[in-house]
């Protein structure tokens, strides 16, 4: 081999390797799952950052290597790790349910998916094994403190390129060489800090305690959206508008919901548009959204049945309750056959005027006409552009399929159990604890009297805090205790 041909061979090799490297690093590959349940739990809907190689956009989480390093970098900020915030970890997974992984533009990113807010656990009693229930409201998740932790620790002085590289050396599945180079030489960690700073500035109102705590199982759907999508300066909004925390809803059985007023205030009647809007909340942008990944979830929850009540039911009592339910509740809430797509009830899925229902109005007022006007420009110049959002003047009547898993009740989760909801507002608990996954078969809901259990501190819910009122929805509150027991028993069959 002559010197010249060796030189040519070498150059070709370098160029070829360069091309391969560029192709690999530019690829957009989610970690995929054939099983739809696994896809729901861990699959990507596109909420990982993307768009630009040097300046990734979208998403709310730092890259995989940083995300998994944060709890050990700032241990005192999160002693129990992500699990203490209500994230559910399964054996064999280093990421919790609801966090997806995707290789995008050379970086191993993570993002939030539908399961983060729509999956939780249930236990029969303290000490029992938790059962993971897909599609139920994430009643234990403290999303606000999660965002606060990720923000604080990303900006902490201990988060440095060296610290992340040290963490990477211990990883079973370390990120690509490209990413390691980006961390070591191209300032990836500093850029993450800049992005985090910008996000913190936009969301300051929710991170610095200016608005009441969302607490476990609740999120303010639209206010962070105003800041993240439209860059509204939240401190200039009327303060009450920033109080919008509400419970996560269940995701199952969407098909019979199409055309009904969705979201607590009924602001949208299209399941698909509602899904895309929720995906924005998880961090997708109209550009980075993974429509195929989202559609798999959509098709699955379309007919996903609500889990059947696993504990004994007193059938005779339930039958008595069914009669009363028909009389007092069916018109607005349909009955146990909704799980089979049968909708009986004139007002199911329609909006009940705020003056008639009388529940806390903050969530309603947090969604404004001006905000809707801005939403119509989301997903611009595409078939997905939003057209269904409407400002309403009340709360939507929800079908009650799988209601046993949807505690606490009312849109703001201000009433711990179904039984308590059937008491007059003055008799409902004034404070209680949210986030315990031990089931209360008596009251129908979760145990709400324990302050902490198993190392997890629950959220003390105070109904006197603005946005947390347990007033209104007085239907059935004048029935006899025996009748109320009947209705509770019947609702177990939903």
């Amino acid at each position: 081999m002559t010197a010249r041909s060796r030189w040519i061979l070498g150059a070709t090799g370098v160029v070829g390797a360069g091309i391969v490297w560029v192709l690999v690093s530019l690829g957009d590959r989610p970690v995929t799952y054939d099983d739809i349940r696994e896809h729901f739990k861990y699959g990507s809907i596109g909420s990982e950052p993307g768009i630009s190689l040097l300046w990734p956009m979208g998403g709310v989480l730092p890259p995989y290597a940083v995300f998994t390093a944060l709890p050990s970098i700032c241990p005192e900020k999160l002693p129990g790790g992500y699990a203490s915030l209500g994230f559910v970890f399964e054996p064999g997974h280093d990421l919790p349910i609801g966090v997806s992984r995707r290789h995008r533009l050379g970086i191993d990113h993570v993002g939030l998916n539908c399961a983060v807010c729509h999956t939780s656990t249930v236990r029969d009693r303290e000490g029992a094994t938790p059962r993971v229930v897909l599609g139920m409201p994430a009643a234990g998740l403290d999303l606000q403190n999660f965002l606060r932790f990720v923000t604080d620790c990303s900006l902490d002085n201990r988060l440095t390129a060296e610290a992340v590289l040290g963490h990477i050396r211990q990883m079973r599945d370390p990120p690509s060489m490209f990413e390691r180079m980006a961390i070591r030489w191209f300032g990836l960690v500093n850029r993450i800090k800049l992005e985090t700073l910008e996000r913190r500035n936009r969301l300051a109102a929710f991170l610095d305690g200016r608005v009441p705590q969302w607490g476990r199982g609740r999120v303010d759907t639209f206010n962070p959206y105003k800041a993240l999508q439209f860059n509204w300066r939240l401190d200039q909004l009327p303060h009450d508008e920033l109080i919008g925390a509400a419970d996560y809803p269940s995701l199952w059985n969407q098909k019979p919901r199409e055309g009904m007023h969705l979201h607590w205030d009924g602001d949208n009647d299209s399941v698909d548009e509602r899904n895309l809007s929720a995906a924005l909340g998880a961090g997708v942008t109209p550009v980075t959204v993974d429509h195929a990944g989202l559609k798999r979830v959509r098709d699955w929850i379309w007919t996903l049945p609500p889990p059947a009540y696993p504990y004994p039911i007193d059938r005779a009592l339930a039958a008595r309750g069914a009669v009363l339910y028909r009389q007092h509740c069916l018109e607005c809430h349909a009955d146990h056959r909704f799980r089979d797509g049968i909708v009986e009830g004139r007002k199911v899925g329609t909006i009940e005027d705020i003056d008639a229902i009388g529940t806390d109005r903050h969530r309603l007022d947090s969604y404004t006409y001006v905000f809707a006007a801005n939403q119509y420009a989301l997903y611009p110049d595409s078939q997905y552009r939003f057209t269904h959002f409407r400002k309403t003047r009340g709360y939507a009547n929800q079908p009650l399929d799988g209601i046993w898993l949807r505690a606490p009740y009312l849109h703001n989760g201000s009433v711990p159990t179904v039984r308590a909801l059937l008491d007059a507002p003055g008799q409902r608990p004034k404070t209680f604890y949210r986030g315990n996954d031990v089931f209360d078969q008596q009251g129908l809901g979760f145990v709400s009297t324990e302050r902490e259990a198993g190392g997890r501190v629950f959220f003390e819910y105070d109904t006197t805090v603005p946005g947390n009122s347990n007033s209104g929805h007085v239907y059935g509150t004048t029935l006899t205790p025996a009748d109320k027991e009947g209705i509770v028993e019947y609702l177990k069959t939903f």
């Binding site: 768009i51 956009m57 509204w232 550009v287 801005n374 989301l378 057209t387 959002f389």
Partner: protein
Amino acid sequence: MKGYRAVVGVLLVLGVISGVFVYNHFFRTRTPVFASDEDHFLFGSIGTEDTDGIPYWLWLVLPRIFPEYLPSPGGYASLGVLSKEGNEMPVGFSKATIGYERVGTNCAVCHTASVRLRPDDPPMIVPAAPAHELAMPQYLRFLSACASDPRFTADTVLDEVAKNYRLPISDRLIFRFILIPSAKRNILRLTARYSWTHDRTEAGRGRVDLPNSAKFGLLRQPIGTTVGNADMPPVWNLSAHSGRSYLWDGSNTNLQEVVVSSAISAGSGTKWIDRDVTSLNRVQQYLSSVRPPAYPLPIDRPLAALGANLFERDCGSCHSPGGTRTGTVVPIAEVGTDPYRLAAWTPASAAAFNAYGSGHAWQFSHFRATTGYVAVSLDGLWLRAPYLHNGSVPTLEDLLNPPASRPSFFWRGYNVYDTHHVGFMTTGNEARREGTAFDTRQPGNSNAGHSYGTSLSPDDKRALIEYLKTL
């Protein structure tokens, strides 16, 4: 020789390719067509995109990049720009493709209002009503502030666009090197044309200074000290008003000319008007028959009947549809209202406007200067608050009080209706948050004059107002 031919061939092919490229990216025109006349009025193009149009993607992201230059959170809506449910473009904003997508304004931006009975009602959108919420000067000031900001760069703008839409690389290059720099120049030139607004009374929400805009901008007359702020008028029911004097001072008597000159003032290109006025004709046709909405609350009919008699007796000659002076100019000395708007339009201005379209098919000939204000007919009066040409009197009740007892300071631009005084709410925190200040002591803002009916008894006033609700 052979080589020469090959070179020519290659050049020819390149020429054709670049020609097609340039045509596609800068000239190919596509204007959306709307099925209903109302949507055409609200969102259709009247040819303003070509001259003053802003590239759509830039227009979309400016409020997200520069929220600090808007009066409050809410994007363009914070400027009183309205939105009709489900429509991407706000009311009065058209999107047309001339090579690239551009945003212009149309008649509806100044002639559509919204109204609510309670603060938590979704607003009702009323086409052809005066846009009492719109802060047009602030819109221009917003654009100007953006274009003057050092962050108004291709990098900033394209990064924000990238979050919303994947622009092809060719478009990104065009934006970077052509459209964003030229938009900056155009915006600064447009706002320089309005620099005269800085040293005189604020128009605020619901008003524009049409005479000065025409004189100083369009007609290139020397900048003077006049103040011409006036309310935007309703444009409904035009066929019922044919043959009247138009504009507050009656400075034109020909409807067609008023429509075309208003479009030109709004930014329609004269070449566009030469080419095709079917779009404007469709607007005019729609407006000729569209009716104001009825008063939304129950009316005390017997009381209104009493009021009708009083109206015929005291107001009819100037304001009833068949009144002898309805639609004619009442001398300023007689009506006694603020004279600034009248003084802003002079015989010289009229002559200049009549000469403006010289050589065009639509050339104007009916512009004139007058000596007073038109006694307008009062259809849809309940939605035309604040009252008088300069919007200096918040409610009908105030208008029936002697000038000295009318409010001297209030907030205008809030769309919740005050059914008690009949007009929009002009006091309170919300009105202050959403409105702009109106101070009647500023030049052009006087609430004097039009003292008709101010000496009626309280009962008669109540009856008269009840009747006025029915118009």
